[in-house]
């Protein structure tokens, strides 16, 4: 039997990433015995047994819903720096260099500093969080992410009393991202959160998925995951986190303010001007399913917005 328990196999011994990302090649290359055994395991369990983070702490925030396959989540991406078609990032981000990597945490903080990706990986115990992820385009996925609450990082730099918002910035290098010039939006990509949103335990600073490091097209090496907001709020490949006094700009809002708000909380009652947000298509399902308020995380996050008119502050 080729399938081993997590303990007796090292990451370096298993299928190279280039191979497993090419699913077809992967299937063709595996011996028949493995193919038979493979059916017994869910795709994600398989990846996790082999991944970089074989032992992740479980999280009470995880959903029990069926996870999407790794192949779906790595071949259907919105990462406009690497092309605007869903299948482009998986091809065009292949050579994206995500190591070494530094994230600068600055602004209204008592102890601003830079973090290397190695430091970020060790800064707090990594948890697996299986979240629903809802795109503003009305499709959704369920992904087992790896990371910890952003608050762990922010507490280290000690936000001052002036800090009311957090501004995020993605990596941008036109040389590495030639398709970006056709995307129709400005780069570097920026996003923002209110400080209390950023400190909420659900707000995940994410370094992996399916028990392994993030693939480039999914925002390697470090990204945000905000499961109660539309996907574009979950900024990818972060290089800068800045604590600020005033509400920072976010790319899609700057580009089209009537369609994309600052908050962009998942809300089935507030339509995108051009399409309904009342329902969504979960990848892998035929029928649409109803979209839930705050993407089903209302119990955790609704209090952040009490007293706010969510139709105005969409």
């Amino acid at each position: 039997m080729l399938i081993k328990t997590p303990g007796d196999i090292r990451y370096s011994e298993v299928t190279p990433k280039a191979v497993y990302l090419g699913r077809r090649k992967f299937l063709a290359a595996m011996p028949a015995a493995f193919l038979a055994g493979r059916e017994l395991l869910s795709p994600s369990a398989r990846a996790r047994a082999a991944g970089k983070f074989p032992t992740l702490a479980k999280s009470p925030f995880s959903t029990t819903e069926k996870e999407n396959s790794l192949a779906d989540v790595t071949h259907y991406n919105n990462f406009y720096e690497f092309g605007t078609a869903k299948d482009e990032p998986s091809r065009l981000a292949r050579n994206f260099r995500t190591y070494p990597w530094t994230v600068s945490v600055e602004g209204e903080a008592a102890k601003p500093r830079k973090f290397s990706i190695d430091e970020i990986l060790k800064l707090a115990p990594l948890e697996e969080r299986i979240y629903r992820h809802r795109c503003v385009e009305a499709w959704s996925i369920v992904v087992p992410w790896a990371g910890y609450s952003l608050s762990a990082l922010l507490n280290l730099v000690q936000p001052t009393s002036k800090a009311r918002f957090v501004a995020f910035q993605s990596y941008y290098n036109p040389g590495e991202m030639p398709e970006a010039q056709h995307a129709g939006i400005d780069f570097p990509y920026v996003e923002g959160l209110r400080l209390d949103e950023a400190m909420h335990p659900l707000a995940l600073l994410c370094v992996g998925m399916y028990g392994d490091a993030l693939p480039p097209q999914d925002g390697a090496p470090v990204r945000m995951v905000l499961p109660w907001k539309y996907g574009f709020k979950s900024i990818k490949s972060i290089v800068k986190i800045r604590l600020v006094e005033k509400m920072p700009p976010n790319t899609w809002n700057t580009m089209q303010p009537i369609e994309y708000g600052f908050y962009s909380n998942v809300n089935p009652n507030v339509d995108h001007p051009r399409w309904s947000q009342a329902s969504e298509r979960r990848l892998g399902e035929l029928r649409r399913r109803p979209t839930l308020m705050f993407n089903g995380y209302a119990d955790q996050v609704a209090s952040l917005y009490s007293g706010m008119d969510l139709k105005k502050n969409f």
Partner: protein, 201 residues
């Protein structure tokens, strides 16, 4: 050569290629992680491409001095309608799952849906009256006037596409300028002809 029967068969098979490609990918479960979206976009793309090809026939006939190209125009136009039907029924059946409530709500609220519907409905009478019998019954002049509706369909199809995309407008802009050029050619031709023969009683 264009008069040969087999040429028409070749053009027919060429126009059918995209549909076969789609069927092949469906057979291999290779329709991307979001098959319904993929089929919708694929058939929509080919509707517009076929419309562009239909509109290109008349200018190409004159520019290339190949009057026989007319033999393919109706067929290409019907293929535009064919892909339009696939596109419409994918949206209606697969995407909305025949949910009339939701569909009617979309009709009144979403301008890109309205544009798409106008484009599709505009092609419907053209497809119905595409037979030789209908040309005879209507008379050439009236038939031709009716079939100018294709201009409306083409423009609405591009507007429908343009209103749908989020930020990368390259493709709708490309189809838009192609259709714009083809329509401009017709205006120029009409003006030129009017000047050339001003003494019509």
């Amino acid at each position: 050569m264009l008069r040969r029967r087999w040429v028409k068969v070749v053009v027919f098979l060429l126009c059918l290629c995209p549909a076969c490609w789609l069927a092949w990918r469906a057979w291999n479960s290779d329709l991307t992680p979001n098959p319904i979206e993929y089929i919708t976009h694929f058939t929509g793309d080919w509707t517009i491409r076929m419309l562009v090809a239909t509109l290109a026939v008349t200018p190409l006939r004159r520019i290339l001095r190949l009057p026989d190209l007319i033999r393919f125009r109706r067929m290409i136009g019907l293929f535009a309608f064919f892909y339009g039907c696939l596109h419409f029924s994918t949206w209606f059946g697969l995407d909305k799952f025949f949910d009339m409530h939701e569909i009617l709500r979309d009709f009144v609220k979403r301008r890109f849906i309205i544009a798409g519907l106008v484009a599709f409905l505009g092609m419907l009478p053209l497809a119905i009256t595409s037979t030789a019998g209908w040309v005879r019954r209507m008379g050439g002049r009236r038939w031709q006037a009716l079939h100018r509706l294709v201009y409306l369909s083409a423009v609405c199809a591009v507007v429908h596409y343009y209103w749908l995309v989020k930020s990368d407008i390259r493709l709708p802009a490309l189809y838009g300028s192609l259709i714009g050029l083809l329509l401009l050619y017709r205006v120029a031709w009409w003006l030129w002809k009017r000047r050339a023969a001003p003494a019509a009683p």
